[in-house]
């Protein structure tokens, strides 16, 4: 079960479905400690990416028809589209993350080492842009454990599925772990102590994103 452009595209399409389905949940989290638009921002952004993918693949979305493509192409399209449609803090952050990820995945298919590199690069991009460190109650708190868990799983010889599962599980745990934190970056930081007790919306959407990567693979190999 290889991680190729077809998988990457399924990943992004699944993410679009997921954020659309969880829009109100993300919105509510952002309403608690932000400005209530995170759900809408991501729905708008990933809907636009899907539109671009459809346009490229033909309306039926029959990806097979398109012949061999690079994983990085899909991620790059995702990056530029998110940057130009999301707005808000999460737009440049996810955009930069996918841009960096694309740089290290310019192949027809990627192995577990490339998956780890992809996640590392994504986190690096987010940190370069947003200057957040772990514990500041941001999406970094989901990406950081995800990267570590992926590297761990890979070093233990896990396959692509195992590596992605480890990353997704760690991201979900990391998102939950943001609940008690007091935000020191982003809009939530304006609340000071009042930001504690709420899960960070960006950390949650990160968990959804990586969860979709696992589902896309399962779906593929099904």
């Amino acid at each position: 079960m290889t991680l190729d452009a077809d998988w990457a595209e399924r990943w992004i399409r699944r993410t679009a479905d997921t954020v659309a389905g969880r829009r109100d949940e993300l919105t509510e989290l952002d309403r608690q400690i932000g400005d209530g638009d995170h759900g809408e921002n991501l729905v708008r952004g990933f809907r636009a990416v899907v539109a671009k993918l459809d346009a490229r693949d033909g309306q039926d979305g029959a990806t097979e028809a398109a012949g061999p493509r690079l994983v990085g192409d899909v991620l790059k399209l995702t990056a530029t589209t998110l940057m130009s449609t999301v707005g808000g803090a999460s737009g440049p952050l996810y955009g930069t993350a996918f841009l960096r990820a694309a740089k290290v995945t310019g192949r027809e298919s990627i192995d577990t080492r490339a998956v780890v590199a992809m996640l590392e690069s994504a986190l690096e991009g987010i940190t370069v842009r947003g200057k957040a460190t772990p514990g500041e109650k941001t999406m970094v708190d989901a990406w950081t454990p995800a990267v570590d868990a992926a590297a761990q799983a890979a070093s233990e010889g896990g396959d692509e599925a195992a590596v992605l599962r480890a990353a997704a599980a760690a991201a979900a745990a990391g998102a939950t772990a943001t609940i008690p934190l007091v935000a020191t970056k982003g809009r939530a930081s304006y609340l000071g102590e009042r930001s504690a007790g709420h899960e960070d919306p960006g950390a949650r959407s990160t968990a959804l994103l990586l969860g979709a990567a696992v589902e896309a693979l399962a779906e593929r190999s099904a």
Binding site: M83, G95, Y190
Partner: protein
């Protein structure tokens, strides 16, 4: 989703005079363009608002932008003596680089462009990306971050102070400096002087409801006030039981005046801003009290502005902004301005 904008939902009533909330910003811009065709032009996809005639050759271009929902900021301030271009994002969401880049280009009259950015992570990151791109295309861009909101401690524990109503002062005064022929360094310098000398703090009496969200941006009990709010419906720093306007005003004015370290004999501009849903009559009650408090400090209110200029949709509430004046800043404030929302 087409209905969210104007029918009641459980989350609270979101009845609004809108069509499909997904098109709220575009619909509003279309009407704005028709109503003020003598002053501005609206460019769609990507959306930005320019002065009729566009960039003035040889004049420093002024660009500002941010999430929609703060009208008349920024679109209502495009015109002679103020902004050349305004870039509205979605409601409460910063514009994207692909909007900001052409906006910067549209403002360039060959003398460079000053980008006035409210200090929010989203606005900062998106403007940063756009400015990087503009510079690679050879555009000369300076950026000034507005961070006048004293409700937020300016520390490593926050994303830094937010830009709120003081942004109007930066746009008006820098706009006048550019109109009078200052070069990019001059105009940027003046803008920084305003930022250094302006502070604000706001209170919410009611929350606001983002059309596509459908629930109030925060839940404020009927007998409470939210002190230290931003302009995106973010909750404030603390809640207090509702008290008379004189007390509320003091909770806003004192931190502002203290942070500015105003001393007796100084001259200031006093700007009482409505959040969108507050009647003018209440703003004047706040203004009267704020002015008395300043005079008790021996501070002279030399200029005044009262009205709803930097808003949060239909939120009821107000903010108090004080700008320390010197002769140059006062003269630039008095300079003619001809925009949809500010004119003298």
């Amino acid at each position: 989703m087409g209905e969210d904008g104007y029918v009641a939902k459980e989350g609270g009533s979101v009845k609004k005079l809108l069509n499909d909330p997904a098109n709220a910003v575009a619909d509003s811009l279309a009407g704005f363009a028709l109503a003020h065709a003598d002053i501005i032009q609206v460019h769609h996809d990507p959306a930005y608002v320019t002065r009729v005639g566009g960039a003035t050759t040889g004049k420093v271009g002024l660009v500002s932008g941010g999430g929609a929902g703060h009208e008349p900021l920024h679109t209502g301030f495009v015109g002679d003596g103020m902004l050349d271009v305004a870039v509205p994002g979605a409601v409460f969401t910063s514009p994207t680089p692909d909007q900001i880049l052409p906006a910067l280009q549209a403002a360039d009259g060959g003398a460079g462009v000053l980008a006035i950015v409210k200090n929010y992570t989203g606005d900062v990151l998106n403007f940063d990306l756009a400015v990087e791109l503009a510079e690679t295309e050879g555009l000369d861009v300076a950026t000034v971050l507005v961070n006048d909101d004293v409700a937020v401690e300016d520390s490593t524990y926050t994303a830094g102070r937010r830009g709120v109503a003081g942004t109007l002062c930066v746009e008006k005064i820098a706009g006048a400096a550019a109109q009078q022929g200052g070069d990019l360094a001059d105009v940027t310098g003046v803008a920084h002087r305003v930022v250094d000398n302006v502070r604000s703090m706001g209170v919410a009496v009611t929350a606001c409801t983002v059309p596509h969200v459908g629930a109030p941006s925060f839940d404020l009990p009927g007998d409470q006030l939210e002190i230290g709010i931003g302009i995106h419906g973010e909750p404030g720093r603390r809640r207090v039981k509702a008290v008379p306007a004189d007390e509320v005003t003091q909770m806003l004015l004192d931190p502002v005046a203290d942070d500015l370290e105003l001393s007796a004999g100084e001259r200031v501009l006093l700007f009482v801003n409505g959040m969108g849903g507050t009647p003018a009559s209440e703003l004047y009650v706040v203004y009267g009290r704020a002015r008395r408090l300043l005079e008790q400090r021996g501070v002279t209110v030399a200029r005044s502005l009262v009205g709803s200029y930097v808003t949060s949709l239909e939120m009821q509430g107000a903010s108090v902004t004080v700008l320390r004046l010197d002769d140059e800043l006062a003269a630039l404030w008095d300079a003619p301005v001809h925009t949809a929302a500010l004119r003298w």
